[in-house]
C-alpha cells in the first residue's frame, strides 16, 4: 500500500506551501458560485417564488466573478490554483488564462441574460423540478471546463454539463422533447466516452493528466507514443461535441424541442465548449499533429458551414432553421482552427465570443416572435413588422450580425478568417466562408421578409392573445443585441481578448511556466 517514506515527509517536494493569494481564489469562484446556489435551490425547491431572486443574485455574482477574473488575468497573467495544494502535476490544477477567462466571461453574460429571460419562459413546474439547479450546474460544468488545467478534470466537467443539459432538455416531458433528448444523450455520451478513452490512452502514453505537463511531454515524445492517433481521437470527440459535420446529428435533432430559453443557452454555450476543448487540446497540446490534421479540419469546416446553412435554408420551422445556423457557425470557427495561424485562431475565438452572444439572442428573439405571432412556421408567421417594430429592429441587427454583415459583431471574425485563409492560399476555404455568409443572408432575409414584412392575408381569427411583451421581456435581448452592436462598432477590446487568447495557446510557454515554474514534472 502506501510507500515507506519517513514519517516526516518533505512537504515542500509534494505540496504548494505558500498560501494562495486572496484574489487568486477568483479562479474557482465561477465554479463554486453555481454549485453552491444550485445546491441551495435544490434544498428549497418547493419555494418556487424565491427561485427568481436567488437565481438573479447567483448569476449576477457569477458574471461579476467572471469579469473580475478576466480583468485580473489580463492585468497579471494566468492564475493557477492547485486543489488540495498538491504540487502540480500531481493535484488537479485550475488555471485561468485569457482564453478560458474570456470565454467564461461571455458565458456569464449570456447566462445572466438568459436568467432574465427565463422568468417568462419557465413555469412553476419547471422550477420545482429543478430548472435553475440544472441551469446552475450546467454553468458550473461550462466554467469548470474553461478553467481547469487537467485533462481528466475537463472530462468530468464535460459530464457535468452533459447531464445537466440533459435535465434541461427533458424538463417538460413532451413527446418531441423526449425524442430529441434521447438522440442528444446517446450521441453525446458516445462523444464523451470517446473523450474518456482518449484520456486513458493519453495517460498510458505520457503518465500525466496535467495539461501544462502534457504539453511538454508530448512535444518531447520521440516517435514512441501514437500521437497522431491520440490527436485524431481528441479531434473526433470534440468535433462531435462541437457539432461538426458529419457527426452533428444530435444538434438539429434536439435544439428545437425544449423551452426556447434552453435552446438559447445551448446554442450559446454547449458547442463552444467543444470548440474551446479543440483549441486547448489540439493547438496547445498537439501543435505538430494539428498541423498535420489541418487539411482534414479544413474540409470538415467547409462542409460543416455550407451543409449547415443549407440545412437552415431547407427549414420552414424557424427554430429548426436557427439550430442549423448554429452548426454553420461552428464551421467558421473550425476554419480558424484549421488555419492555425495567429490571425486564424484569433478569428476563431472572436467568432466564438460573437456566436455565443448572437445565437443566444437570436433564439430569444425567435421565442418572442413565436409568442407575438403564435407560430414558428414560416408558412403562418406574419405581420410582425407592423405589430412589433422594435422587435423587427432587433431582428435586423441580429440577423445581419449572424450573417456577418457590417456593422455588427459577425463581420470582424469572418473578415479575419477569410484574410487568414488567403494568407496561406486556401482560397476554397475563404470561398466557403463567403458562400456561407451569402446563404445565411438569404436564409435570414427570407425569415425577415416572411415573418416581419408579410402581412396576414386576413386578420387571423384564432390569435391567442398572450401576455403583452413588455420592456422586461425585451431587456435580455436588448442587452445581448447591445453587445453585438458594440463589438461591431468598437471591436478593439474583444479583439484584444481574442488575440491574447490565441497567443496563450499558440505560444504556450507562459501557460506552462505558470503551472510548472521549473519547466517540467517533478
Amino acid at each position: 500500500m502506501a510507500g515507506a517514506a519517513s514519517p516526516h515527509a518533505d512537504l515542500a517536494s509534494a505540496m504548494v506551501l505558500q498560501p494562495v493569494a486572496a484574489a487568486d481564489w477568483l479562479v474557482v469562484a465561477p465554479v463554486v458560485i453555481p454549485i453552491v446556489f444550485g445546491a441551495a435551490l435544490l434544498m428549497f425547491r418547493k419555494e418556487t417564488q424565491q427561485h427568481m431572486v436567488v437565481s438573479i443574485i447567483a448569476f449576477a455574482l457569477l458574471l461579476l466573478a467572471d469579469a473580475a477574473l478576466l480583468w485580473r488575468v489580463i492585468e497579471h497573467g494566468p492564475i493557477v490554483m492547485t486543489m488540495g495544494r498538491w504540487l502540480p502535476p500531481f493535484g488537479i490544477t485550475f488555471q485561468a488564462d485569457v482564453l478560458g477567462a474570456g470565454l467564461a466571461t461571455v458565458a456569464g453574460l449570456v447566462a445572466f441574460a438568459a436568467v432574465l429571460f427565463s422568468f417568462r419562459d419557465i413555469d412553476t413546474t419547471g422550477r420545482r423540478y429543478g430548472f435553475y439547479t440544472f441551469f446552475l450546474l450546467m454553468m458550473a460544468g461550462v466554467h469548470g471546463a474553461f478553467l481547469t488545467g487537467d485533462i481528466f478534470n475537463l472530462y468530468v466537467w464535460f459530464e457535468v454539463l452533459l447531464i445537466s443539459s440533459f435535465g434541461l432538455l427533458v424538463l417538460g416531458s413532451e413527446h418531441e422533447q423526449i425524442d430529441g433528448a434521447v438522440k442528444y444523450a446517446f450521441l453525446n455520451l458516445v462523444a464523451t466516452t470517446l473523450f474518456l478513452i482518449a484520456v486513458g490512452l493519453l495517460y498510458g502514453a505520457f503518465g500525466t493528466l496535467n495539461m501544462a505537463d502534457l504539453a511538454g511531454k508530448i512535444a518531447a515524445a520521440k516517435g514512441q507514443a501514437p500521437v497522431m492517433t491520440l490527436a485524431t481521437l481528441f479531434l473526433f470527440a470534440f468535433a462531435m461535441k462541437a457539432a461538426a459535420f458529419p457527426v452533428n446529428f444530435w444538434l438539429p435533432a434536439s435544439y428545437h424541442t425544449p423551452r426556447i430559453i434552453v435552446s438559447a443557452l445551448f446554442a450559446g454555450l454547449l458547442t463552444k465548449v467543444g470548440i474551446y476543448a479543440l483549441l486547448r487540446v489540439l493547438v496547445m497540446l498537439f501543435p505538430v499533429e494539428r498541423d498535420m490534421l489541418a487539411i482534414v479540419i479544413a474540409w470538415v469546416a467547409a462542409f460543416t458551414m455550407v451543409l449547415g446553412i443549407l440545412g437552415a435554408l431547407a427549414q420552414s420551422d424557424i427554430r429548426r432553421a436557427v439550430g442549423f445556423v448554429v452548426v454553420s457557425g461552428i464551421g467558421v470557427m473550425l476554419a480558424g482552427l484549421a488555419l492555425g495561424s495567429e490571425l486564424g485562431l484569433t478569428a476563431a475565438i472572436l467568432y466564438a465570443l460573437h456566436s455565443m452572444i448572437a445565437m443566444t439572442a437570436v433564439y430569444m428573439l425567435v421565442g418572442l416572435m413565436a409568442e407575438a405571432g403564435g407560430s414558428v412556421s414560416l408558412h403562418s408567421l406574419a405581420g410582425l413588422y407592423r405589430a412589433h417594430p422594435f422587435m423587427a429592429a432587433l431582428a435586423l441587427v441580429l440577423f445581419f450580425a449572424v450573417a456577418g454583415l457590417p456593422p455588427f459583431s459577425g463581420v470582424w471574425p469572418k473578415v479575419f478568417v477569410v484574410k487568414a485563409s488567403l494568407d496561406v492560399g486556401a482560397w476554397w476555404l475563404a470561398f466557403a466562408v463567403l458562400l456561407t455568409g451569402l446563404l445565411t443572408t438569404i436564409t435570414l432575409g427570407r425569415v425577415f421578409a416572411l415573418a416581419f414584412w408579410r402581412n396576414h392575408a386576413e386578420e387571423p381569427a384564432t390569435m391567442v392573445p398572450g401576455d403583452p411583451i413588455t420592456w422586461k421581456t425585451y431587456a435580455p435581448v436588448v442587452l445581448l443585441t447591445a453587445a453585438v452592436v458594440f463589438i461591431g462598432f468598437y471591436p478593439q477590446p474583444v479583439l484584444d481578448v481574442a488575440h491574447a487568447a490565441a497567443r496563450t495557446i499558440l505560444f504556450s510557454s507562459g501557460y506552462v511556466n505558470a503551472v510548472l515554474p521549473a519547466g517540467g514534472g517533478a
Binding site: 500531481f90 435554408l313 457590417p406 438569404i442 421578409a449 514534472g521
Partner: protein, 781 residues
C-alpha cells in the same frame, strides 16, 4: 489639422445621427420635417465643397482614426477628384431627395421611418465614396446594400416588393463578398490596406500572379452593384421602391458604386489587355440590352430603369476603353447622368403622384396642368439626349472624340455607343414629352402642379445640367478635370465646351440625334418587335434567379433529408464508422500501430476465463432474443471482473461485479416493461454493415490499447502517490486517497453528476401532462 479631420468625421456620422431622430422629428412636424432634415446633406455638401480648391490644385486630402490597429483597419477617408465629386453628388442630390420625399410621402404613416432609411443610405453612400481603408470601404459598401434592401422593401405588404428587396440583397450581397475577397487579395499582394497607398504601388498588382483573381473578384463586386448584364435584372425590379428611392439609389448614386470602384482601381488594375477587353464587352452588351429592354416598357419608371442599366453599361465600357479621352467622357457622362436621370425619375414620380398613373400609354397633354414639371423634364431630356447646350452634350462629344481611332475594335465600340445613345435619346424624350404633349388624356387623378417640395428637385437638377455646361470652364476645373485625372492616374485636361466644333465627333453627335429621332417615330414598332422577341426567348435572368433560388432550396432540402434523416440507427452507424476511421487511419498512415505482440504465456485458468469472455460475446451476437443477449453480456462482464482480480486489482474487480450485476438486472427489468419485438429483424445487408463497423471500431480500440501498453509507462504520478499517500495524506488505501484527496475535485464533479441524474429522472417521471402556466399538478418528490 486636428479640427478639419474631426469635422469630416462628424460629417460622415451626421446622416446616421439624423436618421436616429428623423422618426421623432417627423412625428412632430409631419412632412415639413423634410426642410430640417435636408439641412444635414446640405451641411455635408458645404463641408465637402470646402475641399474643392485644394483638390482642384491637385493635392488629395486624407484623414482618419485607427479602428482596429492590430490588423491595420482604420476608419479613414481619402478625398481626391474622384471621391470628392461623388461625395458632392451624393450629398447634393441627397438634399433634394430628402425634400422630394417630404412631398412624395406626405401623410404616409411610415414617413419618419422612410426619412430614417434614406438618411442612413446617404451616410453609407458618402462613406463608401470617401473611404480610404479597404475595410471601411467594404463596411459602407455593405451598408448601402442593407439600406437598399430596407428601402426596396419599404412597401412591405406587397409580395413584389419583398421579392425585389431580397433579390437586390442577394445579388448585391454576392457582389459585396466578392469585393471583400478581391480587396483582401489586393491587400495580401501589395501589403497595403489603404486606397491612397494602393494608388502609389505602380505595377505591383498588374505583375502579380494573383492579378486575374483580384480582377475577377473586383469585377464581381462592381458588376453586381452596377447591374451589368446578365446581373442587371435586380435593378428594374428595385423600382418597387418609392420613387425617391429609385431616383436616388437606383439611378443617381448607389448603382454607380460599381463604376466608382472600377474608376478608383483603374490606375492599379487597368491598362491591361484583360481590363480593356472585358470591361468594354460587358459594358457594351449591357448598353445595348438595357436600351432595347427600355423601349419595350410603357411604365415611366421601368423605361428609366432600363436606361439606367444602359448608362451604367456605357460608363463601364468607357472606363475600360483605355484612353484618357474615354475616361474624361465617362466622367462627364457620369456627372451628367446623375443629374438628368435623378431629375427624370423625380419627374416620373411627380407625374405618377399627381395623375395616379405612370403608364405612358395612358398619359398625355399634361403640359398645361404641370408646366414646371414639364420644364424640368425637358431640361433633363435635353441633357440625356446629348443636345447642346447641356452637360450631356459635352459628355457625348468627349467620348466620341476619344473613340474615333479607326481600328476595328474602336469602331465596334463606337458603333455600340452611337446606337446606345440613339436609343437612350428616344427614351429620354419619350419620358419627357409623351406625358405632356398631345391631347389631354383622362387620368385616374385630376392632375395639377405638385407642391414646391416635389418640383424643386427636378427643376434644380435640370438647371444644374444647363449651368454646368454653360460654365464648362469652371465645372471642368473643379469637377471633371480633377475627377478624370484621379481615374486615369495622370493629369487629364478636360476642355470641351458647348460651342460645337466641326469634326468627326460633332457629325457622330448629329448622327446620333438623327438616329434618335428616327427611333422616336418608330417607338411603337420597336416596342412590338421587342415584346415579340422576348416572348420568343421566354426566359431571362430574372426568371433564372427564381430558378436558382428554388433549386437551392430544393438542393438544401435534399441534402438535409439525406444527412439529418432522424434515424438513430443511421446516426450511430455513421458515428462509429467515424470512430473506427479515426482510430485506424492515423495508425496506418503514420505507422503508429503496435508491434506484433509476443504470444502470451498464460496459466490455463486465465485462458479459461478469457474463453468465457469470448463465449459471452459470441452468445450476445448469436442470441435469438434480447433477454439471452443481456444475460450473455453479463457473462462477459463477469469474466472481465475476474481478470481484474487475477491481475491484482480487487477494488476495480469489485466495482466491475457490482456494475455488471446491476446493469443486467436493470436492463432485464426494463426489457420486461418495453414491448419490443423479441428478436431483431434487420436485413442481412444492414447486419453485415453493422458488423463491419463494430468490428473495425473494436479492432481500432484494441490496436490503440496494445500500442499504448507497448511503450514504457511514465511512473512519476504513481510514485508520487505511493510516496505521499500515507505520510502526507494520512491514508493507507491509495485508491481512496486519490479519490478523496489527490483528485477530490473529480469526485465532487462525479457526485454532482449523480445528483443531477437523479433530479433529471425525477423530472422525467413526475412531469406528465405539461401545460404552460399550469401549477405543478403532479405529486411530491
Amino acid at each position: 489639422m486636428a479640427s478639419a479631420p474631426s469635422l469630416t468625421f462628424l460629417v460622415l456620422l451626421l446622416p446616421f445621427l439624423a436618421a436616429a431622430i428623423a422618426p421623432l422629428l417627423t412625428r412632430a412636424l409631419r412632412h415639413n420635417a423634410a426642410w430640417l432634415l435636408a439641412l444635414v446633406p446640405l451641411f455635408n455638401l458645404v463641408h465637402f465643397a470646402g475641399f474643392l480648391p485644394e483638390i482642384a490644385a491637385g493635392s488629395p486630402v486624407t484623414g482618419g482614426y485607427a479602428w482596429v490597429p492590430e490588423v491595420n483597419v482604420n476608419f479613414s477617408w481619402y478625398l481626391d477628384g474622384l471621391s470628392l465629386t461623388f461625395a458632392l453628388l451624393v450629398t447634393g442630390i441627397g438634399a433634394l431627395i430628402v425634400l422630394y420625399s417630404g412631398g412624395y410621402l406626405k401623410g404616409h404613416e411610415d414617413q419618419g421611418r422612410f426619412f430614417s432609411f434614406i438618411l442612413m443610405f446617404m451616410g453609407a453612400m458618402q462613406g463608401l465614396v470617401v473611404a480610404d481603408n479597404f475595410l471601411t470601404l467594404f463596411v459602407f459598401w455593405e451598408l448601402t446594400s442593407i439600406t437598399s434592401f430596407l428601402l426596396i422593401g419599404f412597401d412591405h405588404s406587397r409580395a413584389a416588393s419583398r421579392r425585389a428587396a431580397i433579390q437586390a440583397l442577394v445579388v448585391t450581397g454576392l457582389g459585396g463578398l466578392s469585393l471583400l475577397a478581391g480587396l483582401l487579395v489586393i491587400w495580401n499582394v501589395t501589403g497595403v490596406s489603404e486606397l491612397s497607398l494602393l494608388l502609389a504601388t505602380g505595377d505591383t498588382m498588374r505583375e502579380s500572379p494573383f492579378y486575374l483573381a483580384a480582377f475577377l473578384l473586383i469585377l464581381g463586386g462592381a458588376f453586381t452593384k452596377s447591374a451589368q448584364f446578365p446581373l442587371h435584372f435586380w435593378l428594374p425590379n428595385a423600382m418597387e421602391a418609392p420613387t425617391p428611392v429609385s431616383a436616388y439609389l437606383h439611378s443617381a448614386t448607389m448603382v454607380k458604386a460599381g463604376v466608382y470602384l472600377l474608376m478608383r482601381l483603374n490606375p492599379v488594375l487597368g491598362e491591361t489587355a484583360l481590363w480593356e477587353t472585358v470591361l468594354p464587352i460587358f459594358g457594351g452588351t449591357t448598353l445595348i440590352v438595357g436600351t432595347l429592354l427600355a423601349t419595350r416598357q410603357t411604365d415611366l419608371k421601368l423605361m428609366l430603369a432600363y436606361t439606367t442599366v444602359a448608362s451604367l453599361g456605357l460608363l463601364v465600357m468607357l472606363t475600360g476603353f483605355g484612353n484618357e479621352g474615354a475616361i474624361a467622357g465617362a466622367v462627364l457622362y457620369l456627372i451628367a447622368h446623375s443629374m438628368f436621370k435623378g431629375g427624370l425619375f423625380m419627374v416620373a414620380g411627380l407625374v405618377d403622384h399627381e395623375s395616379g398613373t405612370r403608364d405612358i400609354t395612358r398619359l398625355g397633354g399634361l403640359r398645361k396642368a404641370m408646366p414646371v414639371t414639364f420644364a424640368a423634364a425637358v431640361l433633363a431630356a435635353f441633357s440625356m439626349g446629348g443636345l447642346p447646350p447641356f452637360f450631356g452634350f459635352l459628355a457625348k462629344e468627349e467620348m466620341y472624340y476619344a473613340m474615333v481611332q479607326g481600328d476595328a475594335w474602336s469602331i465596334a465600340v463606337l458603333a455600340t455607343a452611337v446606337i446606345g445613345n440613339g436609343l437612350m435619346f428616344v427614351i429620354g424624350f419619350a419620358v419627357a414629352l409623351k406625358p405632356f404633349l398631345g391631347e389631354p388624356v383622362e387620368t385616374p387623378k385630376h392632375a395639377h402642379e405638385g407642391p414646391v417640395l416635389l418640383w424643386l428637385g427636378p427643376a434644380t437638377l435640370g438647371l444644374c445640367g444647363l449651368l454646368a455646361a454653360l460654365f464648362s470652364a469652371t465645372s471642368h476645373a473643379y469637377f471633371s478635370g480633377p475627377m478624370a485625372s484621379a481615374v486615369a492616374g495622370t493629369p487629364v485636361p478636360v476642355e470641351i465646351t458647348v460651342v460645337p466644333h466641326p469634326g468627326a465627333a460633332l457629325y457622330l453627335s448629329l448622327f446620333t440625334i438623327a438616329l434618335g429621332i428616327l427611333f422616336y417615330w418608330n417607338l411603337e414598332r420597336i416596342r412590338g418587335m421587342m415584346t415579340a422577341l422576348l416572348n420568343a426567348i421566354g426566359w431571362g435572368p430574372d426568371k433564372g434567379f427564381d430558378q436558382v433560388m428554388r433549386g437551392l432550396v430544393r438542393l438544401a432540402g435534399l441534402f438535409t433529408r439525406v444527412i439529418h434523416n432522424g434515424k438513430m440507427e443511421v446516426y450511430m452507424t455513421v458515428t462509429f464508422a467515424g470512430i473506427a476511421l479515426a482510430l485506424i487511419l492515423p495508425m496506418w498512415l503514420f505507422g503508429e500501430g503496435p508491434a506484433m505482440p509476443a504470444f502470451p504465456q498464460l496459466p490455463f485458468y486465465e485462458w479459461t476465463i478469457l474463453a468465457i469472455a469470448v463465449i459471452g460475446i459470441a452468445a450476445v451476437i448469436i442470441a435469438k432474443n434480447r433477454l439471452t443477449a443481456i444475460v450473455s453480456l453479463g457473462i462477459q462482464g463477469f469474466a472481465v471482473a475476474v481478470i481484474f482480480m487475477l491481475l491484482g486489482a480487487p477494488d476495480l474487480s469489485f466495482t466491475q461485479f457490482m456494475v455488471e450485476t446491476l446493469s443486467v438486472v436493470i436492463l432485464a427489468l426494463v426489457m420486461t416493461r418495453l414491448r419490443l419485438s423479441p428478436a431483431d429483424h434487420r436485413p442481412t445487408g444492414e447486419k453485415l454493415m453493422d458488423m463491419t463497423v463494430a468490428g473495425l471500431a473494436g479492432i481500432g480500440f484494441g490496436l490503440a490499447l496494445l500500442k499504448i501498453t507497448q511503450i514504457p509507462f511514465d511512473n512519476s504520478l504513481t510514485d508520487f502517490f505511493n510516496a505521499n499517500s500515507r505520510v502526507i495524506a494520512h491514508g493507507r488505501n491509495i485508491v481512496n486517497v486519490i479519490i478523496v484527496d489527490f483528485r477530490g475535485l473529480d469526485t465532487l464533479g462525479e457526485i454532482s453528476v449523480v445528483m443531477i441524474t437523479g433530479l433529471a429522472i425525477l423530472a422525467l417521471i413526475r412531469i406528465r401532462k405539461p401545460r404552460r402556466g399550469a401549477a405543478a399538478g403532479t405529486g411530491e418528490g
